[in-house]
């Protein structure tokens, strides 16, 4: 850049031919650019690669049915995680009325339920079945976080519900 000016200002008499003395100075600006670019790159990659942890608190198993938590039918939403990233959901306590959805659309369902129910009654029951994956479970727990759901529980589906899911899967041709 400015190195040019230095060259231009070197005085040479008219007609005097001298072996041109080239400046040994190299413009280091691009090198500095590169250096800082690499620094920035390394700083960003080191902080991003840190794994995060999601808290999961499970309730104590109780054999005594009296200690089981009572959930109001009007406030409950049951999400059953099935094979092939499909969610089956129903409101209240009637599994036969279950509907099908996916992991993207479930957020709206949760939000609608949250809006239409008093906060104290809202309870989401998550039932991952045998064919659900760990990713499904984490995704749905994450969804609870995203939608700021205070009360939810993760339990196994009842045999009735499981057979219902399997029937639906067979009918829908989910393998």
């Amino acid at each position: 850049m400015a190195e040019m000016e230095v060259k231009q200002s070197s005085k040479k008499g008219p007609g005097v031919k001298k072996g041109k003395k080239l400046s040994t100075r190299v413009d280091l600006t691009p090198m500095v650019d590169l250096g800082f670019l690499l620094i920035t790159f390394f700083i960003f990659t080191t902080t991003v690669s840190q794994p995060t942890a999601m808290n999961l608190n499970m309730p104590k198993d109780t054999k005594d049915p009296n200690l089981d938590m009572k959930v109001k039918n009007s406030g409950s939403l049951t999400l059953m995680l099935g094979k092939g990233n499909v969610i089956y959901y129903y409101f209240g306590d009637d599994p036969t009325k279950m509907q099908t959805t996916g992991y993207k659309a479930v957020r709206q369902i949760i939000l609608d339920k949250k809006k239409s129910t008093p906060a104290a009654d809202l309870f989401i029951i998550i039932k991952p079945d045998k064919d659900a994956t760990y990713k499904n479970a984490v995704d749905i727990l994450d969804e609870m976080d995203i939608n700021d759901i205070g009360k939810y529980a993760m339990v196994d589906p009842t045999p009735d519900e499981y057979s219902l899911i399997q029937k639906t899967e067979q009918a829908g041709g989910v393998k």
Partner: protein
């Protein structure tokens, strides 16, 4: 009156010191960066919006690989005690050599019956081996014994339970791991995940924004 002539200096700045600084910093960051230790078991965890950093001290890490096998890693400083406790619980005897081997091993991926042979192997030998994993079936849940040994070794101090599973892990395996923890009266876990941005406009996003705004006012 002779006016002082303003000297027109060159606008070129010598970049050498700056270059030196840049590369010095670069070298420093590269050397200071903690390289991820080559992972014993390759796992691709799911992502979550959680922004809590996974604890790196006093941990017991249960890793579930994509073929539903369970491996165990732990804080190197409790390893010796864990093996002692395990010996007591399962009536197994470990020689000084076994103990040393155990402390040098990266992870545990075999049932108790093969444990001694497994820890005698060098990490290079373990790589690429088809390991059976730690049994977590309801009939033979060896993970339970490991967890209880680790809890005893930690002697009442806080122990962080990390569970790291692959995306493809089936839910029953994860549940079996949780059951092993539950059998030891442990109900709090940290699921290791990759971080993901909070979706804009969601409830959590609004909550975070409100907290952020409240924090600014104070």
């Amino acid at each position: 009156m002779a006016r002082a002539k303003i000297k027109r200096g060159s606008t070129s700045v010598d970049m050498t010191p700056m270059c030196d600084v840049a590369f010095l910093l670069l070298t420093f960051f590269i050397l200071a960066a903690q390289f991820k230790p080559a992972e014993a078991v390759e796992v691709n965890p799911p992502s979550s919006v959680s922004n809590k950093v996974a604890p790196e001290k006093d941990y017991l890490n249960v890793t579930i690989s994509k073929d539903n096998k369970v491996y165990l890693m732990m804080d190197p400083k409790i390893k010796g005690d864990v093996l002692d406790e395990l010996g007591k619980e399962r009536n197994m005897s470990f020689s000084a050599q076994d103990k040393k081997n155990f402390e040098n091993s990266d992870f545990i991926g075999v049932p108790f019956s093969q444990l001694k042979q497994f820890i005698a192997l060098k990490p290079e030998q373990v790589k690429g081996m088809d390991l059976p994993g730690i049994p977590v079936d309801s009939t033979n849940n060896e993970l339970k014994a490991w967890i209880s040994a680790a809890i005893n070794a930690q002697m009442g101090e806080q122990l962080n339970f990390l569970i790291k599973g692959d995306d493809a892990v089936k839910y029953p395996t994860f549940k079996a791991v949780i059951d092993a923890f539950k059998a030891n009266d442990q109900y709090k876990y940290n699921l290791v995940t990759n971080s993901k941005a909070v979706p804009e406009g969601s409830e959590l996003y609004k909550k975070n924004m409100m907290e952020h705004a409240a924090g600014k006012k104070q």
